[in-house]
Amino acid sequence: MTSQPQSVLTSTPTQTVQAFLDAFARHDIDAAIAVADPQVSVTVHPLGLHQTGPDALRQVLADLVRGFPDLVISVSRVITTGDVVAALFKAEGTQSADYAGAINQEKHLDIDQAWRFVVGGGLITEVTAYWCQAQLYRRLAVKRYDEIAIA
């Protein structure tokens, strides 16, 4: 599948984020990254990740899709407040590879998340992701934070 180029100059912040979410939902990581600024600031609090650049974002998405190949992203709300867009969604899938240190026990994951995007010039310049890693580990049958890889 080839990625569709984004008409970034005419996109509203909502459209830019919607394009990202649509691409993420269909596991088209190239298309999702296509709407990210080359200097995008990426913060994923549950992973302790604070980096700059599309490769950081690509890694976050790729790890999720690799860990949960049947990943389903169900967006419940997209809230636009100026150039800030908050997306509330549920991520669901069945673990098929190690993820965030948790070994694969083929458990089902369902996690409600909130991602806050800042959009400028039709591109995502900042993304901050919030979810609860306790909920994630609970669903993946992890018992202790200091022994995540031990089932």
Partner: protein
């Protein structure tokens, strides 16, 4: 006849309500926080879930019945509970998005976490709905509870 002064809901006034909410939160004024909410305001602290043998108790419900006791309990367990508001954005429909750090030092048990005098500071994302009457009609919050547990010295997921 009494003249009623009523502010219009705009992006600015909605953000002002939320700013006031966190000011009152910082002052541990739970009644004042609740007064900023409509009588039936919805409440959802998404990470809150307690798994029992037969059911899961979640942090979902109403401000009056779930939010207020939860705030009161937090302030009892973390007497120096405070918040730092980093960004508040809003729109004319009354949607308000707030990036806020919550922090405190544990003095009493909180959930399954026994007090060890540890301090936590955790980034939160709050989504508020502010009604046309400039009362908060919904509060939803996201954060990473695992990070709080570990900062407080609790290494078990449950």
């Amino acid at each position: 006849m009494t003249e009623v002064s009523q502010r219009l809901r705009t992006a600015e006034s909605a953000a002002g309500v939320v700013t006031e909410f966190f000011d009152r939160y910082r002052e541990h004024d739970v009644e004042g926080m609740t007064d900023l909410c409509s009588i039936n305001a919805d409440f959802s602290y998404v990470p809150v879930e307690l798994w029992g043998k037969q059911r899961v108790v979640r942090g979902d419900g109403k401000v009056g019945t779930v939010g207020k006791p939860l705030w009161t309990g937090l302030m009892a367990s973390f007497p120096d509970l405070s918040n730092t508001v980093h960004a508040i954005t809003s729109n004319d429909d009354g949607d308000v998005v707030a990036q806020v750090d919550i922090e405190g030092t544990q003095q009493l048990a909180w959930g399954l976490i026994t007090p060890a005098g540890q301090h936590y500071r955790e980034p939160h994302l709050f989504i508020f709905g502010v009604g046309a009457d400039l009362l908060i009609d919904s509060i939803t919050a996201y954060w990473n509870d695992a990070d709080i547990s570990q900062q407080l010295g609790h290494t078990e997921v449950d």
